[in-house]
Symmetry: C2
Subunit: 218 residues, 2 copies
Amino acid sequence: MAEQAVTVAVSTVIFGLRDVDGSPALHLPLVRRVREPHLGRWALPGGPLRPEESLREAAREGLAATTGLRPRHLEQLYTFGAVDRGGADRVVSIVYWALVRTDEAERTLADPNVSWFPAERLPALAFDHDEIVGWAVKRLKAKLEYTRISHALLPEEFSLGQLREVHEAILGRRLDPANFRRRVEATGTVTRTGALQSGVRHRPPALYRSTARQELLT
Amino acid sequence: MAEQAVTVAVSTVIFGLRDVDGSPALHLPLVRRVREPHLGRWALPGGPLRPEESLREAAREGLAATTGLRPRHLEQLYTFGAVDRGGADRVVSIVYWALVRTDEAERTLADPNVSWFPAERLPALAFDHDEIVGWAVKRLKAKLEYTRISHALLPEEFSLGQLREVHEAILGRRLDPANFRRRVEATGTVTRTGALQSGVRHRPPALYRSTARQELLT
DNA sequence: TCAAAAGTGTTAATCCTACACCCATGG
DNA sequence: CCATGGGTGTAGGATTAACACTTTTGA
């Protein structure tokens, strides 16, 4: 006889950029629930924690299984465990958040039950997932200011203009190109590759890459 | 037949101040383990999560049971769940951190298996608790700079000198009294009570209290 | 009257912001 | 040759850090 027990699940808020009329905008993939409770609603990808896998592995695994994505950045966000979160059992839900590269975000699994939504206009989500996404966005904005995580959204080489567009998309406001450039260069988190980006209808920008350093994946 | 399952535990890193030759210093209470594994070692207070209590309740409850303390500030820190954390079962450990008032810290349960240690000189702890405490200290230092949590360590009314000593103890460096005063006053997080602290062998300092506002207990 | 901390004032250095201006390319 | 974003320069304001100096108490 199974007594009332606590179950552990791991889900992930995945962020990626997709173009909306020319500019990148923050998006996230959701999966449609195929069982009760909240059947048919959109929810964060995730699943139960198996005893033999670490929390991080579980996040990475559940993410790959449902969306086919491999994150560039993966970090624990928070653990939610109110007694009634809208489901039947007592579930403790450990939430991670991840960033995937723009080009990777394009080739998500072709599955009618997986779809990308703009972070600003989400449908009503299952459980308390709305609240969770709100936290993740808040954390992303905060970390943008004092870490180099934004690099994880871009391809290996990028211009400072592209990097600025990413920051603008996430922060939701325009940044002065001149000051942004100086701030970024001063931190030493980027290195010139020497190459220039060609094919643009203006002065070709220098390309940079993230300065080599093992990322501290908290 | 019980299959290999995941267990959820909640523990808490509790911070309080105790005087070390005249100045406050960051301390934390630990409990001695009375069973295997790690029998006899010092560890963070905590215990298993019961299905009917929230994570926060579990943290508060386990804390009260083992140390008799009521925290002024309680916040989730991180969830640790590597497959082998040194115990026998697979345990997912949700860690909270708490601040208690100086005067409260004095009257901990008189129990030979509970003792306060200076944060700088801890004994070797059970499991991965050393690492956890390290994280908690780091978070405390960071939050000191942009929140008002330091008030939670002091009594209802305090002088700016006392508040500065708290910051100095936690950050581990001296702060300019004049500049500290101005910074704190500028934030508007403290209010003069009108009273002065008497009995000091120098000019009596004005007393302040934390500006009334519901604390956001993440 | 002296030591010690409270509290105020001042200045120089630094950082941040806004914006002017030249550069190099594709159309 | 022009529109567009890349890239550099710079002046003013705000913030910070260091420290001189006055105030008020108990011993």
